[in-house]
């Protein structure tokens, strides 16, 4: 049974509809990438899944729960986490404090989990007491991902994790995404860097103009010539 099911969702901002009739599924422990040209509605889809936008039509199911009318903090409790594309850290807090915020709803001792995160992101472990506002883009991205992982979510949504990162840093981030997945977390990525992201995905969806265009395994999509065309409108 899929972990997350998005059924024929239509959504957008105000009277501007961005997504039309979009459906996707994510199985437990999968990595799924959504690619598509700018303006295809990828970020909108993520915001809709996470309760930041309400779908006008359609259904979203997560572990048997209908979540399309839940607020983000309720969805967090069900075991989903979200890393926005920008402004995804608390800059005036330290690295450790950012992680603690990720576990806000836990009242027990979660220092073990913090240490696990430091093992997963050794760079952060060395800088636990540093203010995140003074860190680089790649490091912030790691802080944001680690924060999202604090509650042991079953699914984590990453909105363009490599956007505006230097190439070598993006490689590191993608390696870490694989490492996270290996701990049993399903991952949904929205990406512009289609090649990199698809090559490590189990499956991929292609969105264009707010609609489903293709879906296939990561490898087959990579081999699909039409996709390159789609980006440049050929």
């Amino acid at each position: 049974m899929p972990l997350l099911t998005v059924k024929q969702v239509t959504s957008g901002y105000g009277d501007m509809e961005v997504l039309h009739d979009v459906s996707i599924e994510i199985n437990p422990q999968e990595i799924v990438t959504i690619i598509g040209p700018n303006g295809a509605g990828k970020s909108t889809l993520m915001k809709t899944i996470f309760g930041l936008l309400k779908p006008k039509v359609g259904q979203i199911l997560f572990t048997d729960h209908e979540i399309s009318s839940l607020s983000p903090d309720r969805i967090v409790r069900l075991g989903m986490a979200y890393v926005p594309q920008v402004e995804n850290v608390f800059p005036s807090l330290t690295v450790r404090e950012n992680l603690e915020m990720g576990a806000f709803i836990r009242s027990d001792d979660f220092s073990d989990r913090v240490n696990e995160m430091f093992d997963l992101f050794p760079v952060l472990g060395r800088r636990g007491r540093q203010q995140v506002g003074k860190m680089s883009g790649g490091e912030r991205q790691m802080v944001a991902m680690a924060r999202a992982l604090m509650l042991n979510p079953q699914l984590i949504l990453l909105d363009e994790p490599s956007a505006a990162l230097a190439p070598n840093l993006a490689v590191v981030i993608f390696e870490q995404i694989v490492a996270i997945n290996e701990t049993g977390v399903a991952i949904l990525i929205v990406e512009q860097n289609a090649k990199q992201s698809l090559s490590l995905s189990d499956r991929g969806y292609v969105l264009a103009s707010g609609r489903n265009r293709f879906t296939d395994t990561g490898e087959s999509l990579l081999a699909n010539e039409e996709i390159g065309q789609l980006y440049l409108g050929g």
Partner: protein
């Protein structure tokens, strides 16, 4: 017309625009494309005085306009639209348009009292121009509607209409096609073309709808990672390996081997 030299801007360690240089020729519709985060909107904000560049120069017809405040840049002849329309919701479409023209006598506090005739006359000619613009864009029935009540696509047209009120040297459009349906999009493209032909306007536009860009723009400038990556005719750019790579994440090809 417009020359951008080595423009740079960073936000808290993130170099959004990194030594970007390009130029816009008189009478062209120049397209500015590139993947998300390439720095296109930041370039727009730098050109229109919303942000101060950390380095670099902007010249409009050989005159340096780097770092001027937004209202001065508009007065120099650059008008822009926003990705998300910023219409004045509680004012009518006509009022939105009539706000745009520069150096209106009636905008000086005392003129409505001491030169009522001049103000009236100017208002008449501005209103006439506004009617022309509305007709040009096929919005003539909406003049008395509150701008907040327009549909998403109509708001986009209103943005364009506002820039038309002043006959600027350069019109910068930030994603004019986003959230606009096909029919309206065609109309928009037509309007831009006709504006160039009939009024000699120059355009610089950011757009993600590639059909739209390829049909309308020449040349096309591709940005990636805050820099200009390529420039050329639409079909050249379309078949440029580097460009395809940039969109699909090809900058890692080198690292992958």
């Amino acid at each position: 017309m417009l020359v951008v030299e080595n423009l740079s801007k960073s936000f808290g360690g993130l170099r959004a625009v990194d030594g970007c240089s390009f130029s816009v020729q008189d009478g062209t519709i120049t397209g500015l494309i590139g993947p998300n985060g390439a720095g296109k909107t930041t370039v727009f904000n730098l050109l229109t005085g919303f942000f101060h560049p950390n380095a670099g120069k902007v010249l409009l017809q050989d005159e340096e306009i780097t770092g001027l405040p937004p209202y001065r840049i508009f007065q120099k002849g650059i008008a822009r639209t926003f990705q998300i329309p910023r219409e004045f919701k509680e004012m009518t479409v006509m009022e939105n348009l009539m706000l745009a023209p520069l150096a209106q006598s009636g905008e000086r506090l005392l003129d409505p009292f001491f030169h009522p005739w001049r103000v009236r006359q100017q208002e008449r000619s501005i209103a006439e121009r506004a009617h022309e613009v509305l007709e040009f864009l096929g919005l003539q029935t909406l003049g008395d509607e509150l701008a907040g009540n327009l549909s998403g696509g109509q708001k986009k047209l209103l943005e364009l209409a506002k820039t038309m009120m002043v006959k600027p040297k350069l019109i910068m459009l930030d994603e004019p096609g986003a959230g606009v349906n096909r029919t309206l999009l065609k109309k928009l493209a037509e309007s831009i073309k006709r504006l160039r032909e009939e009024e000699g306007a120059t355009f610089l536009l950011i757009e993600h709808d590639m059909d739209f860009v390829m049909r309308l723009c020449n040349p096309v400038i591709v940005m990636s990672e805050g820099k200009k990556l390529a420039e050329g005719k639409p079909d050249e750019v379309q078949h440029n390996e580097q460009v395809l790579e940039a969109y699909l994440g090809g900058q890692y090809a080198a690292i992958d081997g």
